[in-house]
Symmetry: C2
Subunit: 340 residues, 2 copies
Amino acid sequence: MRPTTKDLAKHAGVSLASVDRVLNGRSGVRKSTIEKVNVAIGEIGFVRDISAANLARRKGYRFMFLLPKSGGEFVEGIVERIAEANRAFAVDRVQVDVSFLTENDPHSISARIDAIGVDQVDGVAIMAPATPQVRDAIARLRARGVSVVTIVSKQPNDVDGQFIGIDNMAAGKTAARLMGKFVGARTGAVIVLCETMQALDGRERRAGFDAIVNTEFPTLRVLPSLETHGDPERVKGILRNAAGASADIAGVYVTSATAEHVIPYLRDAGMRADTVVIAHERTPFTERALRDRSLDVLITQNSGHLVRSAIRTMKARIDRREILTSQEKVRIEIVIQDNL
Amino acid sequence: MRPTTKDLAKHAGVSLASVDRVLNGRSGVRKSTIEKVNVAIGEIGFVRDISAANLARRKGYRFMFLLPKSGGEFVEGIVERIAEANRAFAVDRVQVDVSFLTENDPHSISARIDAIGVDQVDGVAIMAPATPQVRDAIARLRARGVSVVTIVSKQPNDVDGQFIGIDNMAAGKTAARLMGKFVGARTGAVIVLCETMQALDGRERRAGFDAIVNTEFPTLRVLPSLETHGDPERVKGILRNAAGASADIAGVYVTSATAEHVIPYLRDAGMRADTVVIAHERTPFTERALRDRSLDVLITQNSGHLVRSAIRTMKARIDRREILTSQEKVRIEIVIQDNL
DNA sequence: GCAATAATGAGGTACGTACCTCATGTAAAG
DNA sequence: CTTTACATGAGGTACGTACCTCATTATTGC
């Protein structure tokens, strides 16, 4: 049987009331008493029964996910996972809501974050581009006592355990090695497409990609990044130009979650059928593309894991508990048609 | 606020005692009353608060993992994850123990399973070779009221949700496609090594491997499987023979978790440096091998996820709850040096 | 219509923790 | 030495559920 507060009180030689005062950080306790209780906690290995505590507090956890409105299928997938998690975490008194960021500029986003009511929410998971304004708004929100994690896009001030997502530099390196291997003996150019050069994620992936190609696959020529802006017409033009300028395009790398705006137009732009295509983020579209072989490799992160990990991390912080780091690390997944 | 048993009683127009009788399946309740309560459950969306219930029952969950004694680093890793999980699930009153199977023959294993005391354990996770004897022993254990899942090795009678692990056929296909792509323009032979041909897992992987190589990479010649029996000396001989017989060995595929008995001896056996090596299961050894490039690709399953998934599944079955299938699906992970 | 039996309700205690009140203890300040 | 402030203990109630007892009501068989 696990020791209870009663056992703790007995072992520490104090009353239950004092144990309660120490455990919950109430005032009016002598330092020596606090010490006695803490020593006893270590000695008998007391761990607070959180479910009983929550029952007594009749308290739950209200979490909020702040996601970009125009995030495409990837964000839609996250929203679905949140709905699932809502059901799965209901037994733990966790309730999760989603709120969308219609704004794009850092100022409006930080205003939205500042407007979050501390009495309405216990934790917030934010997916937003890394900017100084957002970074500061997050710091203010934390200062107001809210448990905040950032997901997918790492913010510069995130310390250990506050960011849930993958290392994008490593993801880019992974893409590069697979590109090099899959292209094989062919030599030629690699087109790199991103939604916008603004996004830090895409830039990091690109940097990782270049690092590996330059050192390990010097016969490949990586062309400057092209921006899609999520606009199919623009993409068609870009691809035609690229295919025209260099006839020997061996690979296409789509660094951001915008594969659906690129892959359908590759064939029409005159790319060879054996051009190696690598993209990011698992969505219904990219799954279909893997199956019909218009996509060779997908580099992704598990969005269900992302969501649950964010929830567990916010909850652990509120409960002042340690997290199981190995469980919360989000892995860079490689998906091909066979391990879909 | 979530509805409680009190709300349920009021809504159903019965007493709390009757609600209790219905919820816990006690006798002495008219069918019409049971019906009234069940209707009310649906109407107000009552969900039993499991943590409060467990608190009242002062009940925990005692789970046991039954693992092969001689499982190498892979099983050692699982044991470590179990220790971690023990800490992480302590808040849910879950306690996990490990027991090793020193026996190898199906009869002794099934005897061990039969010897498990129903009053000592609430759930058992079994990792054992698929045999009719083991299958039947598991069925008997289930009949005695224990929540049983099988891990890593699927048993033939496992129905939906009772097996936690990967699809080995798909894992073999994945290995094959990466072998084909990594070998690239080279043609030649592929050596396949397994610990023993007895194991179903290895045979399934081999079947998947052959299927893809035959249809997609016909220039590769896959040689008959060679058994290592975990014996380095034997392996050295095997490799020398193989290298001697066909000079053009382009790839090596190790289907079972026995990479540590193979990879160190490839170079000495006279394999070319660019021979593509693919193996299974992430362990300290295979991680090192990826880093020092003696291994190109690792196909693996996340053992931490495996363990937690087994625990969640056993627990959900005991609580008569649904599991979140998407969370419990174990993915086939591809690891290269960049996404380690 | 009566007894026998089955079904139901009312009310209690317990689980481990939080949070409250009130009485009593002890040490520092005057 | 007294006053005051602070520290501590004792005891209660509550959370949502399980499980128990006992009294009361409804239903069945005869």
